[in-house]
């Protein structure tokens, strides 16, 4: 019998350690790969009261001591953490006696561990670029930013294939690091549709905690930071309220919170805009089910997973026409696309969805079907597995094989 294809993933976050989008991404990708017959090992950072080794749905998860070495700043911490990750992973691979076929790294946060192990074990390395320093900072302004950018460039140079989650990111990454076309692969991010199935259908009493029965719910989920464009939504609030009675629910926190609260106060709309902060998963899923419209007003967005989650929860979406969001949503078919950084346009879309029931039903059903067809984790795992196989086919002809 042919040996099972096996991959070792490197990620700095894996549940229950959740900092951003990489954690759920690697979690669902690993589980779906395991389901499709790939042997998956995940090497990640430790987390309080979590075992250093466990098996989750067939995925072997190793958590390494990530604070063993002191560090003067975040970037140095990352490299010092990689030192330990690489050491632990080297011992694991050694113990497994050559059973790993490919290494798969997620972002620069695990770059040095992945690059070193590629050469030490002479196995192909793949990388998924979730975000870039030059995109996050809108340019490179300090030595730290330049160093991170160069580390990202080095990682994509060493990688056999570079996976991006949207066409937008493919072209962004090609531009940022000057990569050849045939090195880049687009595999979308996924969303787990089933997680909304277990939410009860009668959410009336839950809803009553957040809004009056006659108020429509407009939902924002995201960090309260500039690039997410939350201030654009806040500026759109009075324009929406001119036309329709609604309650704006803002989930998440960030450095802009005080500033946003002040704007709301100055408009005397405290009773219409509710900042609920960070909420647990159950509450979030219910809110997404309750929302009459979900808004993603980002100014920079490599992918836009929140929009997909809303679509999976059958909540109609209004997004800004930028980055990955432009690809996820088709105007007037699966949602409304507003001009970025434009409160009037955003308000127009929100109002249209809230007032036009036929339009609302049409786009939410299309959106749900689209999510099922394109953003299903099992299909994404299949695509990823095919990339591994392609790489291994090429690798088998190299002198490393």
């Amino acid at each position: 019998m042919k040996k099972k294809l096996s991959v070792m993933m490197f990620t700095w976050e894996f549940p229950p350690r959740v900092i951003g989008g990489i954690s759920p991404h690697v979690f669902f990708l690993s589980k779906s790969l395991a389901k499709s017959g790939v042997k998956v090992y995940v090497v990640t950072c430790d987390f309080p009261s979590t075992p250093s080794y466990e098996v989750i749905d067939g995925v072997e998860v190793y958590r390494i001591d990530s604070y063993k070495n002191p560090a003067p700043d975040f970037a140095t911490w990352v490299y010092m953490m990689n030192l330990n990750m690489q050491k632990e992973a080297a011992a694991i691979v050694n113990k497994l006696a050559d059973k790993i076929d490919v290494f798969h790294a997620h972002d620069w946060l695990v770059a040095t561990a992945g690059i070193g192990l590629k050469h030490v074990f002479r196995k192909p390395l793949l990388v998924t670029v979730h975000s870039t320093e030059i995109g996050r900072r809108d340019g490179l302004h300090t030595n730290t930013e330049k160093m991170i950018h160069e580390t990202e460039a080095w990682l994509t140079y060493e990688a056999w294939k570079v996976i991006c989650c949207s066409d937008y990111m493919v072209s962004h990454v090609r531009w940022a690091f000057g990569l050849p076309e045939d090195k880049l692969v687009m595999i979308p991010n996924g969303v787990n549709i089933n997680m909304y199935d277990k939410i009860e259908t009668d959410l009336k009493s839950f809803r009553a905690k957040f809004a009056l029965p006659e108020e429509k719910i407009v939902l924002y989920v995201g960090r309260l930071v500039y690039e997410k464009g939350i201030h654009v939504l806040i500026n759109a609030v009075p324009k929406v309220l001119d036309k329709v009675n609604a309650k704006f629910i803002i989930v998440g926190s960030g450095y802009m919170k005080e500033q946003l609260l002040n704007i709301v106060r100055s408009m005397r709309l405290e009773h219409k805009v509710l900042f609920v902060g960070f909420v647990d998963d159950e509450t979030l899923l219910r809110l997404q089910k309750c929302a009459d419209v979900s808004v993603v007003p980002s100014l920079f967005e490599p992918f836009g997973i929140v929009a997909l989650e809303a679509m999976a929860a059958k909540s109609p979406v209004v997004v800004s026409d930028t980055g990955g969001l432009s690809e996820i949503v088709k105007l007037d078919t699966t949602g409304f696309k507003a001009y970025p950084n434009n409160p009037e346009s955003l308000a127009w879309g929100i109002t249209k969805i809230l007032l036009d029931e036929n339009y609302r039903t049409y786009i939410r059903e299309n959106a749900y079907r689209q999510v099922q067809e394109k953003y299903d984790w099992e299909k994404i795992a299949q695509q990823t597995k095919r990339i591994y196989q392609t790489v291994l086919g090429e690798y088998s002809k190299s002198f490393w094989a």
């Binding site: 003067p72 700043d73 030595n143």
Partner: protein, 209 residues
């Protein structure tokens, strides 16, 4: 015949301190004693990447990341290139490397990874300690370097120093077991004999596995 890779961040013509000349003299002597000797060092563009001088095989690696925020991040990103160079030697030598000898803290991360990956033991040779270089400095930056030194002492099969004074310092600061540390001084007549002795004791048995 024994096969050894020496890691040093300085090697002629790159001279930062006295380590450079020491490694040069040592590696030439080792070759004369029929030890196949490789030196992996930093490439500062005064030389080619690969050369052989008096039988010593030298591989020089360059920084893949140029914008850095200090010596520490420069070193931490340079280590993967040291690993690459050492792995190339390892595979070309049919996976028969008996020992790695790493000088000071810079390339300890690479030595540790290679030990865990290939079961190749390493000797950590101490020229100086962070505690002495930056006396009384306990900033997170100094502590990072000290933690790499500590990891080096912990993972090393043997530690070699040039004086009793240094041996006492290491035992005092890092609580390294006395027996793990050996004095190998270039100012004594038994210098190369002592080097070969510690090499043999650290590499012991690996070829016969």
């Amino acid at each position: 015949m024994m096969r050894v890779i020496i890691f040093s961040w300085e090697y002629p013509p790159r001279v930062v301190g006295q380590l450079s000349e020491y490694i040069n003299a040592l590696s030439v002597k080792l070759v004369k004693k029929k030890i196949e000797t490789y030196v992996v060092t930093y490439h500062d563009f005064l030389t080619g990447a690969v050369e052989e001088v008096s039988g010593v095989k030298i591989v020089r690696v360059a920084s893949p990341v140029h914008a850095n925020i200090g010596v520490l991040t420069w070193i931490l990103t340079l280590n993967q290139e040291v690993e690459r160079a050492a792995a190339n030697i390892y595979y070309q030598a049919d996976k028969q490397i008996d020992l790695i000898n790493v000088y000071d803290w810079h390339f300890i991360p690479a030595a540790i990874t290679l030990k865990n990956a290939f079961n190749v033991p390493f000797i950590y040779s101490v020229e100086s300690l962070e505690d002495q270089r930056s006396s009384n400095s306990n900033t997170p930056y100094n502590m990072s370097i000290k933690s790499i030194e500590w990891l080096g002492f912990y993972e090393a099969k043997k530690v070699s120093v040039k004086s009793e004074l240094m041996r006492n310092e290491i035992v005092r600061i890092y609580k390294v077991p006395d027996a793990k540390v050996k004095v190998v001084s270039p100012s004594t007549d038994s210098w190369i004999k002592d080097v070969l002795e510690i090499y043999t004791s650290a590499a012991g048995g690996l070829n016969n596995k």
